[in-house]
Amino acid sequence: MSSCDTKRPSRVIDRNALDDLLGTLRSRGYTVIGPRICDQAIVYDEIQTTDDLPVGWTDEQDAGSYRLKKRGDDALFGYVLGPHSWKKYLFPSAQRLWQVTRDGEDISLSPEGGEEVNRAFIAVRACELHAMAIQAKVFIGSEFVDPTYHVRSKNAFTLAVNCGQAGKTCFCASMNTGPRVDGGFDLALTEVLDGARHEFLVEVGSEIGAEVLGTVDSREARLEDQHTVDDIVANTVAQMGRSVDTADIGDLLKRNHANAKWDEIAERCLSCANCTMVCPTCFCSTVEDVTDLSGNHAERWRRWDSCFTMDFSYIAGGQVRSSTKSRYRQWMTHKLGTWHDQFGASGCVGCGRCITWCPVAIDITEEVAAIRRTEVEDATEPLKRGA
């Protein structure tokens, strides 16, 4: 996965060519992963052809609610985002790190090798590309490189899609992460549905992308095709369901550590952790050591964890954040504020998943706005601990 500075579609393909393209990826050894319908939602799973895509379906989303709906056409990518994100492949929810076996006096330790599955990710959206870049910074962007993340991301092929519509919970426009893809892909498509016309405008983002595209029938893009992309993206921006005023946001949250709003949110929040689990940038994990009954075999596992669990902040005899208030505050402050201090960018890409998939509809955009509205500067105890 590498990006060139190609900001314009250069070729145009039809659905048959897209099927051929998926075939090329498979023949090059990729496991092709894309959107498909499962249990009344659009999830990411293995696909074979474009027939597996959610053809003619869309998703209607709002805080705490997600429903599939039929569209009036055969759009392949006419939905927004589902509950899954690509982190389930790049940062699996449960991963064995190593195992150790004892045989008499012999002890043998076997670390898990980097898994050599090459995946092609189909229909990655702009916010998701940004989320992948953010997680890559966490896992492989410093001197401490997570070897499994490294292998998984290095070997991935990314076929991005410009969003042709936005959902009610989307706010990528205000986070500057979409809806137009701006790098980090091998190929990027824009789906054009206009009467009988059903085509895909293709931008090339890498050499391997160009190679793969070269194996299928395509025609050259015209100037009006480029305008078509601009129009589609502009229309998507206009549909954006939510927004966040990001001005001064890190300091805003720091200043409002003692805002009474946090107590109100805590009355509604279930501390269920769904928001962090669905968030494509949340990277926290817990490490568990397990032994078998004989004691001759032990394994170390890494699992997704969340700042909403009590165990997360357990240190030598107690929890640092035992109240739900402090846990919600930690989550939002990290996403929007302290992430900047830690990684030099926002931890939120505005995908809206935490809003849709919060079982009780707690909305990060609404809560930021509420904090802004009710700002109270409590200069006397700016960092009251443990509350």
Binding site: S65, P83, S93, R268, L270, A273, L293, T309, P359
Partner: protein, 260 residues
């Protein structure tokens, strides 16, 4: 480890359906390993052989529902180095704790021909209300993987990996589509402790809370949401909370509050 070094295991039964003990017998592949790792000294469900105490580890199933059992549990505690309660009956009073909301003598009069011979306490209570318990393993029934995890942890003197967070975390780790958000199905997962592997959501059902309240459960907020957004009548919120863990304090409090 020589055989004489093996820790002695006892399995006790109080008011219960035997389902949790059966989970132990259901450990098929690992049953021989268990028998190899511990000496089964008292387990009437599995073997007639009975060895006297003291025992290194007692697994206790069932709740306290009679004056006789309220005495018996103290002797078991005295005979046990470690005492682990297994299942919703032992950890929360079980389904039989539904009696706690009524007068048990009334039931006895209706059910039994000679109710004067029934010597039952008015309330079904968890073991921890009577004696000190070293670890509580939740579930109705317990999950056998968790049971083996507790036994392994005991044998190797480490903390068991038994998380107390929500079922939602298990859902999401397994990529299960949320039934509440995507289908509008009421689900107790956000207030329920993990451990089952999110079996019900995996089959597109709401969670029934077999594993009882999770850490810091916000049952009131979930009940409100069910009522206001999912059109569940308060009467059904009460019913959903009154199953296997009906008198676990966070569930009892909320079901009582919603009764009116």
């Amino acid at each position: 480890m020589g055989r004489k070094d093996k820790p002695k295991l006892a399995v006790w039964k109080f008011a219960s359906c035997d389902g949790c003990q059966l989970s132990l017998l259901d450990c098929e592949d690992q049953l021989l390993d268990i028998a190899g790792a511990v000496e089964i000294a008292y387990f009437p469900e599995a073997t007639k052989a009975v060895q006297p105490g003291p025992y290194d580890l007692s697994l206790v199933e069932g709740s306290i529902t009679t004056p006789h059992d309220a005495e018996r549990i103290h002797q078991i505690r005295r005979d046990s180095k470690f005492l682990v309660t297994i299942g919703a009956c032992a950890t929360a009073g079980g389904i039989q704790a539904l009696r706690n909301f009524k007068d048990v003598r009334e039931f006895a009069r209706i059910v039994y021909a000679s109710p004067q011979f029934i010597d039952a306490l008015n309330k079904s209570t968890p073991i921890a209300d009577h004696v000190k318990v070293d670890f509580e393993l939740r579930g109705c029934p317990v999950n056998k993987k968790q049971l083996i995890e507790v036994l392994s942890a005991f044998l190797h003197e480490r903390k068991p990996n038994v998380p107390t967070h929500s079922v939602c975390v298990e859902c999401k780790r397994q990529s299960i589509v949320c039934v509440m958000v995507a289908h509008g199905t009421p689900c107790l997962g956000p207030v329920t402790q993990a451990g089952c592997g999110a079996i019900c959501p995996a089959y597109c059902r709401g969670c029934y809370a077999c594993f009882g309240p999770k850490e810091t459960p916000n049952v009131a907020a979930l009940g409100c949401w069910w009522h206001d957004e999912l059109d569940v009548p308060y009467r059904d919120v009460v019913r959903a909370l009154r199953t296997y863990n009906a008198v676990a304090p966070p569930f009892e409090k909320e079901s009582v509050r919603n009764e009116h």
